[in-house]
């Protein structure tokens, strides 16, 4: 299984501001009633994007000028709450390839990386600077350089951070660890022998 080496993500951006955006808000629990991840993009931010009758509420993702964005900007502690992988799945299936936020909840970060959804951190002021640029030029292309840990837009750029282990996995095409974990089967057996509770 060979995976894409994700060294950069280029595309338009949109900012969904706010701190502590939890996974229930990213994908409400009723969308978890499924046995596949197909179609989860529809439910992304549903209850803050839409009224119960399906009409739209004011929300950045509903603005025509931001349609087709591939890089999502947000605040601190993004993805807190539940461990549901449905959250990064919904973000990815909606069309995003990367998130740039002040910080992430631990489980969300891990789930996203394993899907090849890049999660980069940035300073609040820098995110605000990008958001202001997007507001003025929503069609402008952003380039998230994973290797250089930089987000470029127009003639400007900001520093971003991507945790070493995640960056290594992304740029070397091993963000889905299954192949490497399977290779360790012999070592797993050896470790298991020292753990009596694993005996049948």
């Amino acid at each position: 299984m060979s995976l894409e080496k994700i060294t950069r993500v280029a595309g338009r951006g949109v900012c969904v501001p706010g701190n502590d955006i939890d996974t229930d808000r990213i994908i409400p629990a009723r969308y978890l009633k499924c046995v596949t991840f197909d179609g989860l993009g529809e439910g992304l931010f549903y209850d803050v994007r839409k009224n119960p009758d399906g009409s739209e509420k004011p929300h950045p993702l509903n603005e025509p000028r931001f349609k087709g964005a591939q890089i999502l900007l947000s605040g601190a502690n993004f993805g807190c709450g539940s461990s549901r992988e449905h959250a990064p799945q919904a973000i990815q299936k909606y069309g995003f390839k990367a998130v740039v936020a002040e910080s992430y909840a631990e489980i969300f970060f891990g789930n996203s990386t394993t899907l090849g959804l890049v999660c980069a951190t940035a300073q609040r002021a820098d995110i605000a600077q990008v958001a202001a640029a997007l507001d003025a030029h929503p069609q402008a292309e952003l380039v998230l350089d994973v290797t250089a840990q930089e987000l470029r837009f127009g003639s400007q750029s900001i520093k971003v951070g991507i945790r070493d282990t995640a960056r290594d996995a992304l740029v070397n095409g091993r963000w889905d660890p299954i192949a490497e974990l399977l290779e360790g089967a012999g070592a797993v057996k050896a470790t298991a022998t020292g753990l009596p509770y694993l005996a049948k």
Binding site: D22, P177, L181
Partner: protein
């Protein structure tokens, strides 16, 4: 060199270092449920992989089960489809399934300890963030996504970076009417919803030494609400006494060997922590949330925060957003806020002792007119024990609905949902916008006895007053 429990368990389960620097960590115990596992089995099939150690994965069904209906097919065809998928997957891959017909079904974090599957010095993973609950036994237990469920099924390992460890001491003695739930709500209020990011929390101090296993579970359960992926308490005699005689606990000579081994995992005296926080139990009051994340809590005697008095960065905007959603007035007392629904249950507070403590005070009292009150045992085992003690009758007589076991209104994936902007006094763990099934529904988190007090008063109330709680 002295080590803490986290380091010992981590080292004992480390398989090797992966190319990106993460650890391939052996997961000794894997718990699965119907919501986050079906896609993982799908991935296994797509890759042509088998389950590496089927005897170390245990399944139950909890999130989607109706609590007002036992017979199948369920009214909700999607719920039935998920139920059927789990049954089929367990049968196909040889996994033990605590199905509803077994009498052992329940919320995964209640079933594991109840069966004696959750043991000290082990690693536990489950596709559910409240897996931190199992840390109460001195296990390192964390929630994972679905792709990692696939990894555990296929390899009995996951790729993970090592966490730092923060020791949280709670010293002294809790006041009357103050419970484990108040302790964790207070800790999250003090340290914040993301204060634990990158950490495992080790809980200790006199309060934890005295706590029962069920109380320890309540605290460890909500570690994730403080951002900590794992939380644990060192194993001690309380732990061993709880486990002894449970179906999956070792027996005979194996029991003695296991206890010796379990003791060896406890943090060494003088071991190092990355951070230490000490909290005086005397400052912890019955705590209720007023906002839209679990750190937005206050003592029942306090007033709702006023954004005009906010000092920290973002605090003003965050209070304003929360109060607008909660429809609460700044500066007003939280006590007296009218409620519509009272919910006792969940993996946080759906255990026998939770129902016992409420029943002790609720006996002879009535739920206020207009309040819908539901009591949902966390497992079939809890339900049976409650019924043997006649607790169900006390709840019914008071006007509570007594339900079948499941997650129920904690996340409302079944038909137990708030309607419109109903306000719910809830013993669950999350007060996020829309959490309890209505996009405008409102949740106030609190201990089970505080929920009962709110149900009886019809408003957010101080259980110490409603039930005349004095020193035990």
């Amino acid at each position: 060199m002295s080590k803490n429990l986290f380091e010992k368990v981590w080292d004992a389960h480390t398989v090797r270092t992966l190319a990106n620097g993460q650890t391939q960590l052996l997961i000794g115990t894997h718990l699965i449920h119907e919501v986050t596992s079906p896609q993982a089995f799908g991935m296994l099939r797509d890759l042509g992989l088998k389950v590496a150690m089927p005897h170390r994965t245990f399944a139950t069904v909890d999130h989607i089960v109706p609590t007002d209906q036992f017979a199948e097919p369920y009214a909700d065809p999607l719920a039935q489809e998920m139920m059927d998928a789990l049954r089929q997957n367990c049968a196909e891959f040889g996994i033990t399934f605590f199905d509803r017909g077994t009498g052992k079904q329940g919320i995964v974090h209640i079933v594991g300890p109840e069966q004696g599957i959750t043991q000290p010095g082990t690693t536990i993973a489950c596709g559910d963030s409240h897996t931190s609950t199992h840390g109460a036994f001195g296990a390192i237990a964390f929630g994972t996504g679905t792709t990692q469920i696939r990894d555990v099924l296929a390899t009995q390992t996951i790729a993970l970076g090592k966490l730092k460890v923060r020791r949280i001491n709670v010293t002294g003695r809790l006041g009357p009417g103050v419970y484990a739930k108040d302790v964790i709500l207070h800790i999250i209020r003090v340290l914040g919803v993301n204060g634990g990011t990158g950490f495992a929390y080790e809980y200790g101090g006199e309060v934890f030494d005295r706590f029962t296993m069920e109380e320890r579970m309540t605290v460890c359960n909500m570690s994730i609400e403080g951002g900590a992926r794992a939380g644990y308490v060192n194993p001690d005699e309380t732990t061993f006494a709880f486990l002894k005689g449970r179906p999956y606990a070792p027996k005979g000579a194996a029991w003695d060997a296991a206890v010796l081994r379990w003791k060896s995992f406890a943090s060494d005296p003088g071991c190092k922590f990355d951070d230490v926080v000490t909290i005086d139990a005397a400052v912890i009051a019955p705590t209720v949330t007023w906002g839209i994340n679990p750190s937005q809590g206050i003592a029942i005697t306090e007033s709702i925060p006023d954004p005009a008095k906010a000092t920290a960065v973002d605090e003003k905007a965050s209070i304003e957003e929360a109060l607008a959603y909660m429809k609460l007035k700044p500066g007003a007392p939280i006590k007296g806020t009218k409620i519509d629904v009272a919910f006792i249950g969940s993996c946080t507070n759906g255990r026998l002792s939770d129902f016992q403590e409420v029943a002790r005070h609720l006996k002879g009292r009535r739920v206020a007119p207009g309040v819908k009150a539901i009591a949902v045992p966390g497992s079939q085992g809890v339900r049976v024990l409650c019924e043997q003690l006649g607790l169900d009758q006390i709840f019914r007589d008071a006007g509570f609905e007594w339900r079948e076991a499941g997650c129920s209104m904690c996340l409302a994936m079944n038909s137990d949902k708030l309607v419109g902007d109903q306000l719910c006094a809830s013993s669950s763990n999350r007060n996020f916008k829309g959490r309890q099934g209505s996009p405008t529904g409102r949740t106030i988190l609190m201990s089970p006895l505080m929920v009962a007090a709110a149900a009886v008063a019809g408003t957010i109330a101080d259980a110490r007053e409603v039930f005349h709680v004095s020193a035990n």
